[in-house]
Symmetry: C2
Subunit: 321 residues, 2 copies
């Protein structure tokens, strides 16, 4: 098995489709199809997408708890048999994210339940298991947030162990988790998660110059490839060789269809890494084409290889630096 994905704080992503959803009202849902449940959490998403993309197997690790945790693991087993589950089962309930979709009024009303609290013995158990598993893999994807009880320097420890074992480390995170890991043991591929922040490495980024600086800073810590989403239609790419801006030239992007684009990006880059000798820049472009193809779906769903290929021609590359 080549790929290991880490999801410290998995979730059960639920969608309930209710036209004309209203407050203080009883809504009866009569069709089972209006209730959708999917395993979620960024690392798990990457595992599921790799499985769909090219039947690429992976190992998924992290923490699962309670009834929700059991639903996540059973659904993964049923629907993604080539994702090997190596989760630590802990007390408490895994997160449940309920989205009530009103497609008439274009409302999304969301309720995010809290995750479990990870106790120290659970974390030690996880670290032990991680050390064993990572010695057999080539790529480690560390992605998303951590639950209460997991220290904010944990990703840097994972990154260090993975690199020691000869793994390429892909990191998608934000805030202190990102900053600590980049500074202490920088992964090979870094994609700051910009979904609910405009800060990277503790600095607000707004102008292209500010983005450029922070991208170069991450490279200076040892990253081979840094990808930063920039003003929706662009990606900024940084390697030790320079900086580029990738722009989507054609095709409509639906801003309401962004769920899972980052995970599609990472999954596609890993697929590209495992199957081609592309340059880092080409790899990033391939990831962007996958993210772009993903936006044709409302739900988080992996586009097909041919959908990704089709989108490659719509991406323009310009050297910045």
């Amino acid at each position: 098995m080549d790929v290991l994905t880490i999801t410290m704080n998995p979730a059960l992503d639920r969608e309930i489709i209710i036209p004309h959803f209203q407050l203080n009202t009883l809504h009866r849902v009569f069709e089972r199809e209006k209730l959708i449940s999917d395993p979620g959490g960024k690392g798990i998403n990457v595992s599921m997408m790799l499985s769909k993309l090219n039947d690429t197997p992976s190992i998924a690790m992290g923490f699962l708890g309670g009834y929700t945790g059991r639903i996540i693991s059973e659904e993964l087993r049923k629907r993604y048999p080539n994702v090997t589950l190596n989760f630590i089962h802990i007390d408490g309930e895994s997160r449940e994210n309920i989205s009530i979709l009103d497609e008439i009024n274009h409302y999304i009303t969301e309720i995010n339940a809290p995750g479990p609290v990870v106790q120290e013995p659970d974390l030690l158990h996880f670290m032990k298991l991680f050390n064993t598993v990572v010695s057999r893999t080539k790529i480690t994807v560390i992605s998303g947030s951590v639950p209460v009880g997991v220290p904010l320097d944990t990703y840097s420890i994972l990154s260090e162990k993975a690199k020691e074992s000869g793994n390429k480390v892909y990191l998608e995170a934000r805030g202190q988790l990102l900053t600590n890991t980049v500074k202490k043991c920088c992964p090979e591929v870094v994609r700051p998660d910009m979904r609910s922040t405009n800060k990277i490495m503790g600095k607000e980024v707004e102008s292209l110059n500010e983005y450029m600086e922070v991208g170069k800073e991450i490279v200076s810590y040892g990253a081979e490839l840094v990808i930063i989403s920039y003003k929706f239609k662009h990606d900024l790419i940084f390697t030790p060789e320079g900086a580029w801006i990738l722009t989507i030239e054609q095709g409509e992007l639906d801003e309401s269809h962004l769920l899972g684009t980052g995970d599609a990006y990472v999954a596609a880059m890993i697929h590209d890494y495992l199957t081609t000798n592309h340059s880092l820049l080409e790899r990033a472009k391939y990831g962007m084409a996958a993210a772009m193809a993903k936006t044709t779906y409302l739900k988080k769903e992996m586009p097909s290889l041919s959908d990704i290929e089709k989108n490659l021609d719509n991406i323009k590359i310009e050297k910045l630096d």
Copy 2:
């Protein structure tokens, strides 16, 4: 084991407490205590309340399906060890009722998910099991609605089998389920479920006379005791000996606290039946006192024996006929 409760269509009752709940907004719930899950469905409620009231054991039967069904049965096992579970596990998901409680705006926004579809072999399996179990019990409580796939004359068949085995049958239902059962094989105790209908035995009831007629009609089919909730503060009681009106004289009733009052009523009457030699009228009064005591709680919760006793003095009995 004396008591058997039938819940054909159990539910997981979930409450999510979100102050200022709004449409088209992401709500993060940080405290686990704001998310409450309870096994539900009227027969299960009676079993849980009997257990709480006086540690009275009971057998619970019906259908459970999927993840939701498993949560219901595991929670029952964990929290009510003297409720013996004899459910048939079927394909599909048991119902999930989500109530989003906004205590600031006094809004209750509800989402009721559909139940499973019962297949014929499942129903045959249930009937076989029912015949075995009912031969060992003294009281059978048939309560609530039936899922898709269960014919509307099923309760009358259950009532017949239970009576053949010497059980006293308590029925709380509405619509065709109630009418069919009363007409084909009338249970000893009948409590029409008036929560979302003003029809009993196919007739709209509004005036006291209309209530009186339908109460007497049910007695004419063979009921020993008929209890009909009347204009919130009253219960009409019918036996072969006559009709009475029970009125709550003192104490404030909170109309938003009615969840589970009917089930508390039935559970208290059964407790009374098992432990006293009260007359039918006294038994009904005891049930009403329990329902009244229940309204001091927002949630469906069984009042204590002393709370019920306290409320007995607040009920006035007048003979009508």
